[in-house]
Point group: C2
Chain length 433, copies 2
Amino acid sequence: MNAFNVSEHMQALGLQAKTAAFLMARADAASKNKALKALARRLREAGPALAVANQKDLERATAAGLPAPMVDRLKLTPKVIETVAQGCEQLAGMADVIGEIIGMKQQPSGIRVGQMRVPIGVFGMIYESRPNVTIEAASLAIKSGNAAILRGGSEAIDSNKALAVLVSEALAEAGLPVEAVQLVQTTDREAVGQLIAMPEFVDVIIPRGGKGLIERISRDARVPVIKHLDGNCHVYVDDTAEFEMALRIVDNAKTQKYSPCNAAEGLLVSASVAEDFLPEIAAIFAAKGVEMRCDPAAAAILRESEALGAVNPPAKIVDAVESDWYEEYLAAVISIRVVAGVDEAIAHINRYSSHHTDAIVTRDHVHAQRFLREVDSASVMVNASTRFADGFEFGLGAEIGISTDKFHARGPVGIEGLTSLKYVVLGQGEVRT
Amino acid sequence: MNAFNVSEHMQALGLQAKTAAFLMARADAASKNKALKALARRLREAGPALAVANQKDLERATAAGLPAPMVDRLKLTPKVIETVAQGCEQLAGMADVIGEIIGMKQQPSGIRVGQMRVPIGVFGMIYESRPNVTIEAASLAIKSGNAAILRGGSEAIDSNKALAVLVSEALAEAGLPVEAVQLVQTTDREAVGQLIAMPEFVDVIIPRGGKGLIERISRDARVPVIKHLDGNCHVYVDDTAEFEMALRIVDNAKTQKYSPCNAAEGLLVSASVAEDFLPEIAAIFAAKGVEMRCDPAAAAILRESEALGAVNPPAKIVDAVESDWYEEYLAAVISIRVVAGVDEAIAHINRYSSHHTDAIVTRDHVHAQRFLREVDSASVMVNASTRFADGFEFGLGAEIGISTDKFHARGPVGIEGLTSLKYVVLGQGEVRT
């Protein structure tokens, strides 16, 4: 009955993507922007058709007994569609970085040497549930002059197929190859294994999803992976921190939203201010129902704090265990530790953090500079909430993911992370002697 | 008898390197430069001691019947030592890029966001024969603030050990951790397998050697690899090329040296000039004994050429087979093909080249721009010899290798290729709303 051959399908997608990538690399900015604007328009026009496709996914998910929050994430509401349409228009309005040449300098031999930004080629994107990622990835592929092969979650297959049709139409309307963005047409998991093992067609894999998925892909991939593992982010409150600022930043970093990877999971407080600071932040956490997993020093301060005895609901103070320092809770839980000062804070972060985003609150210039330089994380902040670690907040204009790697792209990955720099040499007949 | 445990040795090197890397990342420019200058001085002073160690390697190599060119490459002559000593001094004179912050811009939220250049951490270097690479790698590690674990060729083990002692002494003299540069103390091949599979200690592997070594390492490594596969480089002579310039560049690219990876292995000539150009370049090649593997069109032109009939020694014209277009000869052999024009030249190169270095000789601005943009190679040149693809000629000040990858570093890799950019955020108490 099932005559569909996954391997043949993936090979065909790979070959078509490779061919399309060559044409996309040559495409001028006007054509790419035309495709992005056409995609925005078609998204808005296709509302009713998208709703029909999306309804199929939602019914299947509900019938399968998926939890309500997961069903919610599948929904292509008019608001979600408008947001991705606007995202396409914003990308269309951005300058095209492809072909830019940087650092052109004359060398002693007479040749001039610089670097030209070019697309990477073909990227494979593997993601879960939310169908709007299909449009985000497609629009980034178009703007960056790459080709993409998209493998969305099986729960969203009908929505993704409907969205992929709009992408193809928009590409065709702009005179660009429709194979520049292709959706894997099967939910067979074998397709993922194939996609990550085609170095002849695919230049880089970008997985978005749970830690298990990303570890599995990193282990098995035969091409480079832009990895985003976990976000165990910290805020360190230094001796000279302004209390009001520190309370605002720690509160925001932990409680503004619990689920993002850039939310804080650990609070470090300098011993010199711990007795004053901890009860104040704990009162805020208690009011919001945030559980506090404390080291002995922090626990002692909080359990003895009279102020905290009076809060309602009562503060949830729990003794931390070693594994707490590694944990990405993504929930109303935070680990708290008293440290001797900036040295111990840096040492704790470099040992336990996931190298995603860590912040210091301080007035001390030397401590700020040391923290910036010595904390080995993708984003390091002074006097700002970790929640800012995001491609849009960083001014990248778009974000395909956040890398916790040091290689190639680090931190929020925008268009530039989908490009490489090749050397260009301009001579007048020079030869090597 | 052999109580030496390779696995324990490698784990110890890894842990020590990781610790040293943290201190190296913090080291100031003055200390790093002091170590480099001390290393240069110690290299010059140690001449006699190095000669004794080197003699052991040479005697072992000769006894083992190694071919004379391979024995030559092992030699630590006074000239070789002076060259690497000068290399250390040049690095000491270069600006320190670690800690530099680029692109700091204010965002709508009020935060300022930029990127700081930091060391990658620990790199593992795997190389063959030439012991001077030990000093090149060590000095680049010191300047870039990384730690390095060096695995040299077994033939050079005594020389490498003697050199590694000088590096340790120079680090100690400058107050830097001696474990910042460590030499693997065994020639057991198991050590390589261990080194490439310690992601907890090693951030990147840089192999230098034959294609077989690099393919094996790329396949088995559990950390990123800065790969340099082969150099199948091309020169394309366009319709409007100035003949004198084209002859000079093609001759230089092929014959100035046969063994470097940036030597040309393929010549493409536009059909409109092939009848005039090919006999002239063939006369030069014939005089130098370069064998020409020709497609039917080129072969026909050359075999009918009266001019060529007269050269002495007689030109070696051979019919090319498909595999010739892929070949990195590293010898007095070149493949030659007549193409319809710039489009076919680009298509040939993108299909057969190893994406290392390719050049066009032309007066045509549009063809030059298309070649620069569309040829998918690490270095793309107009009117210059491919032999310029080199870290020193490109002004990088040093070179740890040449990458034929698109990911992270592409083309000649200098200090910057051993660094990563992390985001730094400077706030005044901003939080996310």
